[in-house]
Subunit: 225 residues, 4 copies
DNA sequence: TATGAATGAGCTTTCATTCAT
DNA sequence: TATGAATGAAAGCTCATTCAT
């Protein structure tokens, strides 16, 4: 009992409160950084805009993250992690590989549409030739199993004689990624050059139908579908 | 004669020479700007790095281009133009639509591979939500006929009953773009996350085969190919 | 007995322990501050380097010393005090004034060599025109009797007709100080400019011999030595 | 004639004017830097105080000197150079070595008194363990012949049997330096601790007499003076 | 007593840009 | 046409210091 009191002692509680607040501050900064870096890239993203957006001050960014580069690294980690978690939440029915595959395409496209910051930051990271990702061991671990959703589905489909045995999971993965990602990443220039509103739900949905069709046609055994 | 000489006077000659030199200086700066903006983006690209790279000096950039923004605009124009010109040089045999379509895929992929600066700058422009492209009338004109190669080929194939009538040129265009562009634009993060060297000729060529397959499967009428 | 125990109660004991710990923390900080200020000067010395060097944290410095300025003041006091104490430990034989004088030269030189932090901090204090020393009454008291060792020795030598009556203790004191201090305080630039290693024991010992010679020659009555 | 005009052409003249102004700006900054670094040291010296003192702006310091460190290096070089030049202007009469030696002591003391910035900056450089001087080849060249004034005088005196053959020029040089430099470099703490105004002309002059006496006694052959 | 969290002012440095010739 | 010199604004970052528990 007494020991209970001690474990609930003001000191511990106090520490808890402060630590909680601190975690929140850190989180607010990280969130603001995601937003700002997504909008302006690493070079264009301003420390003081981030701190203002986070209702904090410049100094805290250095307190929690060291410098701009390290902050960007954590931003990268956090968006990869969020993507992974979303993927993990995808519940696929392996008993219907075709439908499951469609589900993956739908999910991927929806995720990119809903997370322009993911696309923007990934683009910026590629502009810098993956410089930050290469630095971080965390990042390489985070995305270790990039094909973990697709692989069982595709292999199950192959086993059942639905999907072509001569297509690799890797190429299928890249195909789906390309068809979904490109639409989002290049929407602004495409909107201008094709005079077509890539943000309109109608256009998005017809594109989704198209890429599901493309994807299936690329793996289905002829005469099966 | 003497008066002829005068009309060919040093001044005029000099002007001619100078104009030539001027054009060269301008060209050198533009080329350097393409390089620097491709490497560091608009925000990260430094005026003085460009002028050094061009063996010129900062002041000349302002003399010829006004400011950084306008310089970037010209850079955009120049890379779009170069792409268009390359496309125009493509000589397609309409009498064999399937082969012609393959040729377009090959060309597009090869162009992106050979012109990382095109991909990088387009990415950066998308990061900035097409801000610069939207400003320039030139740019919109340049890329007015973005599907000019593909359209006749595809329509010829449809006419001949080779290609599906329910696929739009637009979607086909986007499909090819996505499959070729994504490989290049995201190669750095993909290289890290998939532990696969996207620069290796072998991997590139197997990907090319794959996307030709995907493209054809997406348009060919079943049982025809 | 029991009450005795109470007066020796945990609280008191704890206080005693804590007070002891507190004194130790304070001492560790002071020691670290001496080191850091000696290496980087007042302006260059960083609070957080001091706290890290002391295995403590910034806040403690403010708790114990108020601010950077006051900490520096205590540092000054502590090094003056240490010098004074070392001087006081010098046991001179007044019956042999010449030997005693030599002893003072030896001691002074040895002290500066062994205490580069003393020299460095004194230099820094002079850079700031004695700003801190002037503020502190303590400091002026500490070094009230700066010539307390030298005076009796020199006066004894004068009384015995060994030392010139026309030389002042003050000038003799400054002479010894100059000859010993300068060697240490300027050793780094001298090492560079004279291409001579001022840290080498041989060079130090020949210099000691030289300055003993110079000192004696400056006070001995001609024909006496 | 025509060619004369060309060499006097506006272009050259114009360039000349601007270049002249530029040199002046640079010089003003350097002078201001000497002052500020002398007063506050390297760490304490503020870039913006220097630029204000120079009636210029921060940016120009970076334009002309690169960064604070390099500016300090040039400051060091400039004060060493000034000292060397002053030394070179000293016209010594070798036919009277004793008087010449006195002249050197007088000059050295007078120089340090007149140039507190030299003493202060040298002190600061020693605080940083000669870090900057070691970096610069220029500096090592500048002060290559640090004993060039003293050497001929002393050797002439030795040749004539006036000066002791067992004293090295090097030690004599250090002796004079120590006796003159210390007075200046440590005047602020000494003024406080000895309760003696080291700035007063009387005290300075009695010290000069004393150190001339000390110096001569350290080299004169007994019975000669 | 001790310590993480927070802060504002100010530091060095860089940037795009303009001036003057 | 070309170029060194100059500039103000703002960038990233560090500093000594204080708050809150």
């Amino acid at each position: 009992m007494a020991s209970d009191n001690i474990s609930d002692s003001p000191q511990v509680v106090r520490t808890g409160k402060r630590a909680q607040q601190a975690r929140e501050t850190r989180e607010k900064i990280l969130k603001a950084a995601v937003k700002v870096f997504a909008e302006d890239g690493f070079s264009g993203g301003r420390i003081d805009r981030i701190s203002k957006e986070a209702d904090s001050n410049d100094r805290m960014i250095y307190y929690y993250f060291g410098n701009k580069e390290k902050l960007f690294l954590e931003v990268l980690e956090s968006i990869y992690l969020a993507f992974n978690e979303a993927e993990r939440r995808l519940d696929l029915d392996l008993s219907d590989p075709v439908e499951a595959l469609k589900g993956i395409v739908r999910f991927t496209f929806a995720y990119y549409l809903a997370h322009p910051e993911f696309v923007a930051i990934l683009n910026d990271e590629n502009l810098h030739r993956g410089r930050h990702s290469r630095q971080s061991n965390n990042i390489q671990n985070i995305s270790g199993d990039i094909q973990s959703n697709l692989k069982p589905v595709f292999e199950e489909g192959q086993k059942r004689g639905l999907f072509r045995p001569d297509v690799s999971v890797r190429n299928l993965y890249l195909t789906i990624s390309a068809l979904t990602y490109f639409y989002c990443s290049n929407q602004h220039t495409l909107t201008i050059f094709m005079n077509q509103d890539f943000k309109s739900p109608e256009f998005q949905s017809q594109w989704l139908n198209h890429i599901i069709d493309v994807t299936l046609n690329s793996v289905m055994i002829r005469g099966e579908s």
